[in-house]
């Protein structure tokens, strides 16, 4: 995973709440067996509409998605994170994220930032007024800044450290194998197993 320390880019205002993962990437696009190429499916239904914000030339190269509340609800598909990343997004800002989507994004290096709804709305207005407004996301200092604004955001120390180091969770857990071994020795015998097959 690429290290994430700071990112500077422009934003795109997605003025919709409850953007579920079926909107981010519809199920028909989930049949690929790779992690790449999902950008075609990103917001597929909405992108048919020329008025849709992602189709507007001034937002073409944006890397910071500023969305309404409850972003990423619904299906656990990590393809939603891949589609956003494959398209070029590095950061998503919203006042509320669904739990599974947020977990997936932070595992995969797509930084999801929670700001107050009033701050999100102010950002929408600023971006709409001047689409070229640079937005700086500083993970080390936990701030989002644009124009004269400098907004702090919360993220737990562990996740921040892991993203800044670009570390893979599995590698970290495998260092704890002794703990897993000793836990398994104490597991009760009545816990079910899938093998051998009983039917």
């Amino acid at each position: 995973m690429e290290k994430f320390i700071t990112h500077i880019g422009t934003g795109v205002p997605l003025r919709r709440s409850n953007v579920d993962t079926d909107q981010i990437i519809p199920a028909v696009y989930l049949k690929r067996v790779t992690r790449s190429g999902f950008e075609d499916g990103l917001f597929a239904a909405w992108r048919n509409d020329p008025e849709f914000v992602l189709n507007q030339p001034q937002f073409k190269s944006a890397t910071v998605l500023v969305a309404g509340a409850d972003f990423g609800t619904g299906s656990s598909r990590e393809h939603a994170v891949w589609a956003l990343q494959n398209y070029g997004f590095k950061v998503v800002i919203s006042s509320r994220f669904a739990d599974i989507f947020r977990g997936n994004s932070l595992k995969g290096g797509l930084l999801t930032i929670i700001l107050d709804q009033s701050d999100v709305e102010a950002m929408w207005e600023a971006i709409e007024a001047e689409p070229a407004t640079p937005i700086t996301v500083n993970l080390e200092e936990r701030t989002v800044s644009y124009g004269s604004k400098n907004l702090p955001f919360a993220i737990d120390d562990y996740t921040r450290w892991r993203l800044m180091e670009g570390l893979d969770d599995i590698g970290l857990t495998l260092k704890q194998t002794d703990f897993i071994d000793s836990f398994e020795k104490k597991r009760p015998a009545y816990k079910p197993a899938t093998l051998p097959i009983r039917s």
Partner: protein
Amino acid sequence: MGKTLAEKIWAEHVVRQADGEPDLIYIDLHLIHEVTSPQAFDGLRLAGRSVRRPDLTIATEDHNVPTMNIDKPIADPVSKLQVDTLRANCAEFGLRIHSLGDKDQGVVHVVGPQLGITQPGMTIVCGDSHTSTHGAFGALAFGIGTSEVEHVLATQTLPLQRPKTMAINVEGSLKPGVTSKDIILAIIAKIGTGGGQGYVIEYRGSAIRALSMESRMTVCNMSIEAGARAGLIAPDQTTFDYIKGKPHAPEDFDPAVAYWKTLFTDSDAKFDVEVDLNADDLEPFVTWGTNPGQGLPLNAVVPNPADFADSEQRTAAERALVYMGLEAGTPLKKIAIDTVFLGSCTNGRIEDLRAAADILKGKKIASSLRMLVVPGSARVRLEAEAEGLDKVFLDAGAEWRNAGCSMCLGMNPDQLAVGERSASTSNRNFEGRQGKGGRTHLVSPLVAAATALRGTLSSPADL
């Protein structure tokens, strides 16, 4: 202070705890399917890693599979590749798989419980958000993404932040014609699609205790639609009786039951939040909009967006009515339906099929619509056929299909056409969920059956 049920299960599965780090939690059962696993297996191969516990892992084919002509190769080459990839991965890593044609193939959340492999006090994960279904047994069960699937395959653990706890107390008794689906739709309408974010929900109260296991699964299944990654119900005699005799029920049953009986929320435990719902007042519930929180009793009318005080909700309602092609003020019962879908991990179990068949028996569905009946698993299908339910559905004019996720998410050929309107026993009414441009109303199996007969959204009482 005592512990809640969720806290007890969590504590029993902590492998390692360290300040400033998430808890490392042991996973008792990992369910996998074709859609969210291929990239995880690729990751294992790239890193030269193996599956730590093949004996705690089980795969089935569900999201993508056709529900017709299953003896022939899958027609869609991309779907076929995904299913073939799952089969090859399971063969390579030595994992148990129930493929199309096998009697234990079916929707992953129907398969686990019917095998008796879902048991109280377990931690259960799957790359599917409706893993919350298994919480009905008093297990801590939740959906994960593909990175986490890979993590569990490699380590049988997950690093997790401890969730907060929410109690939803449902007291009273349901009127005839009102089901557990109506309970959960009413809960979601009450707390909203984000209401459960960050929480594990425990469903409690006399109305919950009175539910059958399969009805409890319907409630827990849709916890995610309320924003909660997991929802659970304390196990009791109903749970133990359901597991007994299932293929993977504990051979030494009594010690297991003795442990299961310790799985309840202590009387002095404290939840972070409590919500109350009165079951006596509930009516059959139906959604009118494009998220599962946009629901109302069937006797209501399509709401007027102007009546929403909250501007976000107002905008969402305006958008939803445009997408759904509905006028404010229209009685919900006047809405004409094109397709009735009976199935899914929410309502594709034998009790759901029995309840619907009971209403359809000896009658014909409206000529204006089609009805798809898709059993949750091949075993449910066989059971239904043994009871003659297939004949009831076929005689009524419905289609009797093979098992899979089918029209719940429209990944296989079972989809709505643009503008087509469904009454669906599934779990999500998102834009395009059941097919691009399709319009979904979420309903219980009873409402689905009554609607099939009348052609408009209806409850059994309308017949």
